[in-house]
Symmetry: none
Subunit: 195 residues, 4 copies
DNA sequence: CATGAATGAGAGTTCATTCAT
DNA sequence: GATGAATGAACTCTCATTCAT
């Protein structure tokens, strides 16, 4: 595949992302993507054979870009608390975003297919996030920044709360206050108790 | 509509429930339901005009039955802690159910339609659960069973965790241990601190 | 068929007439008639087996009633010119009626079926009208009321003009002035020339 | 749409015309056209979305072709009487055609839809014909070929007679003699009276 | 007589997918 | 590589018609 083709593939992915963000996963047809890209039906099939393939490619690209962004924002001398705060701030931003979110599509996708563990990007991302949080909490505990009996369990706990907020936000809507309330609870539950 | 028709309607709803539990919401066609019920195409349309109508009817029935079940299981002399424990036990049972769960379909449905607030059963159920939990927590606090600064915020907090577990359970699977861990955290956070 | 049944049949015909007047011929389904009559599907089939049968029955009733009305309005001492004027006045009234007209349905019906000559009510009515007009013109000529070389041809001529007006009125609409213009032309063409 | 597609569109229109001529308007289904064209269901939808769209396209083509034919047949040195005679001859030919006539379908179509004035092709054609006849009659009067007090009213009168003949011909059938009789009446009514 | 639930044929419509150009 | 016309399977929905009650 030449360079030109790669560019076109990128172009298709970008347009497809918009379509998935707007219509979710299942409702998207190859025709929708063809229309959004203004290319020919056959043309799309040269690059992707199904909406599933397209969606997985979009996800992969998305996840790579997200990692980049997050890494870039962490300063050299950041403390564990700084990083956790940054992480939660990013999550809040995402939760409040109305448009251009793949959240719905992602859930729909993983509802559709009982994806095997290894291919389950959703689970992988969850597990990765848990691991990162765990390391963060541990290092925070060592520094004396946090208090936390089981960093692993707490990491998972935080992620469940965030998942709960995420799903609530896109299926029934939540207010900024509700998010803040939860983030405060999280921070308090690991804060060093002052006596 | 005579008594016989009502029975048939019930029958269709029960079969439709199975179909939704198996295939989610969007993937279900009227034909799927027709096939599951072993009735004629037109026959189904006598009772329901669309999968949407069917699904809402299934939901309504489901919710009524759940209310009945829960009410029946509460003993006369139950304490707030008893009731909360029962509630969490029910939630755990539901979380561990693999088959026959409408969870996926429900989320899919509410992703599809940006349902107006008033008609949003999902939100209504969430809000109702929050209110019930709030009352429960308050009465527990008054009895000296629980300690909790803001029962309302805590009620919402519990529901977000449960939502997080629910979504995790059906999109990527969770273990019983993970559930128990969360339930323990919940119980601890409102337990009277022993000194 | 008992007296009660006859009444019901009449009732159905009356309701069916309304439906045909509103929707034309082809668009009418047995279901439409059932709904209009508020009777059961099976109930309708006891009396009529198809919309065609229904429509022919409506037509028959209509034509009988029209004959009655016309006969009743002719006074004993009416001259040929009086009767012709009355006839044209009736036609004009019918042409201007917007609602409750079977005209469209009738044309539609006879477009649908290449009805054999004997059963062609439309043709029979046309021929009957021509004959009546012919007799009228002849008697008018004999009285010296009209001047007309071939009463038969003139009768047919008048009917063609009326048909033209009728079709124009229901397919594209006509004004009262246009009708009057034509009626004047008709009356002039048979009027005794005054020198 | 390439040149090949245009050819196919033409092909579909031609076949659709045959179907409409045979079955009228309402009775025609997309399937009928598909069968007549020997193409696939989806194939037809690439070109036309409904029988209505198809019919309007057929009408448009028909009317363009009719205009061409008529223009081509008028000789340079034709008198008003020549042209009128040619026009009436064309009308007679059309009236006598048994097969392949869209007349029924056209009426049916305009019965179905209470088409708004501007889109009402039937009315437009009628009005256009009236205008052309009016000009023709005026010029004939100026030349001394015709005698006619109000060319406009006479033009309309002629069109009503032709409409009457048309509708009679397709709903109940008419003979060539009946047509000739009417055409003679028309020509006589504008002929210069010979004293 | 009368009901209305039930059937199934058939119309409309949309798309994934293929393939000649 | 790229196009877009073409196919046909699948789905939604409506009714004429039947039949047990």
């Amino acid at each position: 595949m030449g360079e030109k083709s790669l560019l076109k593939k990128e172009y298709i992915l970008q347009k497809a992302r918009e379509v998935f963000a707007e219509k979710g996963y299942r409702a998207v047809t190859m025709k929708d993507v063809v229309d959004a890209c203004q290319i020919s039906r056959g043309g799309l099939y040269l690059y992707f054979d199904s909406t599933k393939e397209l969606f997985l490619a979009v996800l992969k690209k998305e996840s790579e870009e997200a990692d980049d962004t997050f890494s870039r924002e962490i300063r050299e001398d950041a403390t564990a608390a700084d990083i956790l705060t940054l992480f939660l701030k990013e999550q809040k931003k995402e939760l409040l975003r109305k448009k251009n979110t793949l959240t719905v599509a992602i859930y729909e996708f993983f509802f559709c297919y009982q994806v095997p563990k290894k291919e389950n990007v959703l689970r992988q991302q969850f597990d990765t996030a848990v691991k990162v949080l765990e390391v963060l909490l541990k290092s925070g505990v060592e520094n004396g920044e946090f208090v936390c009996a089981s960093p692993k369990a707490m990491a998972r706990h935080i992620m469940f709360i965030l998942e709960g907020l995420k799903i609530a936000s896109c299926s029934m809507g939540i207010t900024e206050e509700m998010i803040d309330e939860e983030l405060v609870v999280i921070m308090q539950s690991i804060a060093k108790e002052e006596s």
